[in-house]
Homo-oligomer: 342 residues x 2
Amino acid sequence: MVKIAVDAMGGDNAPGQIVAGVADALDICGDIHALLVGREEAIEAELGKYSPDRSRITVVNASEVITNDEPPANAIRRKKDSSIVVGMKLVRNGEADAFVSAGSTGAVLVGGQTLIGRVSPQLRRAALAPLIPTEKGVSLLIDCGANVDARAVDLLQFARMGSIYMEHVIGIKQPRVAIVNIGTEEEKGNALVKEAFPLLRACRDIRFIGSIEAREIPHGGADVIVCEAFVGNVILKLYEGVGSTLIHMVKQGMMGSLRSKIGALLVKPALKDTLKVFDASEHGGAPLLGLNGLVVKTHGNAKAAEISHSLIQCVSFAREDINGKIKKSLADEEGQSVLQED
Amino acid sequence: MVKIAVDAMGGDNAPGQIVAGVADALDICGDIHALLVGREEAIEAELGKYSPDRSRITVVNASEVITNDEPPANAIRRKKDSSIVVGMKLVRNGEADAFVSAGSTGAVLVGGQTLIGRVSPQLRRAALAPLIPTEKGVSLLIDCGANVDARAVDLLQFARMGSIYMEHVIGIKQPRVAIVNIGTEEEKGNALVKEAFPLLRACRDIRFIGSIEAREIPHGGADVIVCEAFVGNVILKLYEGVGSTLIHMVKQGMMGSLRSKIGALLVKPALKDTLKVFDASEHGGAPLLGLNGLVVKTHGNAKAAEISHSLIQCVSFAREDINGKIKKSLADEEGQSVLQED
């Protein structure tokens, strides 16, 4: 059994869609035991709407909720009985293998790093690694929010962790790793990229294909896209912003004349299918890689399907022993450094 | 008369579309004198196709062309008779007020800074400032490529120059200035943003509205969007990449069934109008702000319309004495610093 703690109170659609997603996941996968964390009576009321296998559900009461408006570090310190703090402690104490939350990104990031801790002393920083949709499927964008002002060695560790995740959870053999840059020539870039580039090229555990310009990301130019968190955050949010703006404008534009209104009715199903391809929530949430356990952050507006996918993602993560593989990779890295120093 | 040197050899559609655009601009605006720089016989052959007012055209021969593949600094140093070097020298020597090129971005950036020089000794760095389309119109993104590893004082100067340009060339009264950040709270951000934020807030010449998340850029959340060049480059290229990918997918999706094919025919004109709104080339090229003269970089694939718009843009720039206003603003800044130190 993979034991997954789920923040029943996090996000815009809690607890209804969270509980619905958990019920779906339990139906799909017989190996999940879910620990629903939050206000007991609210959770029970939602559970009453489904007929899930109660032998695989534990409700863990947590009386407080951390909101998006609170400074994350403060909230984690003060709200000891919040669903995020209680859920993360279940992971820290080994009572759960993973924790899934649609709640405050900041609180999930801070909580993950302070309450659960890192998978290995060699790892400097954990990284938030969402999947972003491309023409060809999905790419992993690492890092997107856990650390500002990262160093070159961090980017190398992100590349290793991201590669392992894409290969063993998403199933892409020998994923292509690229670093976000302002040109494809090696001499291009800021100080951080210039320092990280040779480290990535020298790393034997990854398939480094060089620099990627932001223009090529949506075309699926790489499977693992390495960047520091500020740039990653800009990419992730601009992706959403340009996408939603364009789709809104296209839909609005079609409503301008009778002719195009009729056309819009006819293209609607095709358009819906296309936009579904460009919807990352199909692939579950963003893992916070490098923790001693797994934390998955879903979108704040996640519905049952994304929650359910996130739980399945946790099962793959546990079965493939991703953390064991990350530990081994980071230990090898240490070995390599020692060799290089010799 | 505003004297505008134009790189007749730069970009994918040179010299045909370049000369066509110049001919259009001369028709639209009686105050332009164009200096077409490049291979004389090629330019004359194109001019023969139109009947422009030859009294307002000078052909300046330049035998060499700088390509996109060459390292820019090298190319500028070596190819003394290239259209970019010859055109920029016309600006430096006061024989032209502005230079427009669709050629190598790197060469235009390097050439602008080394051959023309800065508008004022107070300015540390010139900045490339393209207009990007939004739901509400356009925003100016500054800086997008002239400098890596910028400092906080650079961002303040970018904000001042960008504000002046948006107000007096694009016509947006008291443009809203925002800094790209990973959240809207003041304590968010990397070291550079945290240092620049109070400088921007304290500046009396601009209307600073705080941080902007990348998600809000396409929604038109600010008129002048300040960031360092690496981030600006990522934003600019991802804008293009997500836009073109989505449009491609929407078009392809519509070709999937007979029903949607018929619908596609009906929505085509509306879709075309919508996408035109989201096309920055309507507003001319990207100015390189802060030079002792004006350099405008258009898209490499610019056609006649973008070239023509860029020439008109140069006329507004000269008439509104943007460089005079930038000089004054930077001198005031020096005054403010002196006051602050007292």
